[in-house]
Symmetry: C2
């Protein structure tokens, strides 16, 4: 298989399992922070199981002229919500831990606002050499599954959702 | 049928159709604003078709003590992004137009930041008497479907996604 294909229902089941594992760790988040735009759908699914508010942050690797940038930067941050982070237990959500650069960037931004604790949950972790690292303040890191370093096709990126289903079923 | 049940793939197809209708109107948004948390998943799906950045706003009907409030208020707003709204064409996204109060609230908040234009797209509009109204500045309002005033079960609220599929299939 050259690429991974997931259906929405696959993702929903992975999120449910992640939610159960979060509960098992004993970590009780006050709120989740969703890294946009890949984290929006997993974060909304997770809300059904953990029932915590979602703060959304936008992270981009392109500039205003749509040119690629080497490092991530914020396109939406949570100025108004900073007071909601201080002293709180944050569960940070994204779809995939690829190079780990985005995750490290987000964690470091969140740490500046002095949360009580940060845990990280991603749908998928790619087994590869990472350019970024998880800061030591983060004690809990959960991945729904470890994947080989192949292209991942998420259902929300599909133009034709029926073709996505067929590919995910190996047809 | 007492309730409506939708699968993720139903929603994905509705979003695709909505995207096509947005294009047909000639309205070319600079960015989308997703009303959280119901609008997060439709907005992320829509991004695949319209390829515009998403700003997320959180709207709640409960206060810090989790008590119900009669009117919506913001739990995350887009302070940093206000300059991104001014003079821009905004497509506002939510999952359902129920009482229309949330939509009106969001539109009025957005209008304060002087966008060039606002269009509204919702997955579903409930045919009922509305407590809120769409301000006259909004020239384009699109709903993926009009529904009777029944409870709508969205897939992201399902604990058991297989049961949701079965209910949606009428089993």
């Amino acid at each position: 298989m050259e690429k991974y294909y997931f259906t929405y229902n696959d993702i929903h089941r992975t999120v449910r399992s992640l939610a159960e594992r979060v509960v098992q760790t004993g970590f009780a988040p006050d709120l989740t922070v969703a890294i946009g735009t890949g984290g929006f759908i997993p974060a909304r699914m997770l809300k059904t199981f953990l029932k915590k508010p979602i703060l959304a942050v936008g992270i981009a690797y392109y500039d205003d002229q749509n040119r690629a940038t080497e490092y991530p930067h914020t396109i939406q941050w949570i100025d108004e919500a900073q007071r909601k982070i201080r002293g709180k237990k944050i569960l940070l959500i994204d779809e995939v831990d690829d190079s780990r650069v985005t995750l490290e960037y987000c964690i470091r931004e969140l740490l500046r606002h002095e949360p009580a604790e940060i845990a990280v949950a991603v749908l998928h972790n790619k087994k590869k050499e990472k350019r970024g690292s998880i800061p030591p303040e983060v004690k809990i890191y959960l991945a729904g599954a470890d994947l080989e370093d192949k292209w991942v096709c998420y259902p929300w990126d599909a133009i034709d959702i029926d073709a996505q289903e067929a590919s995910a079923a190996g047809k």
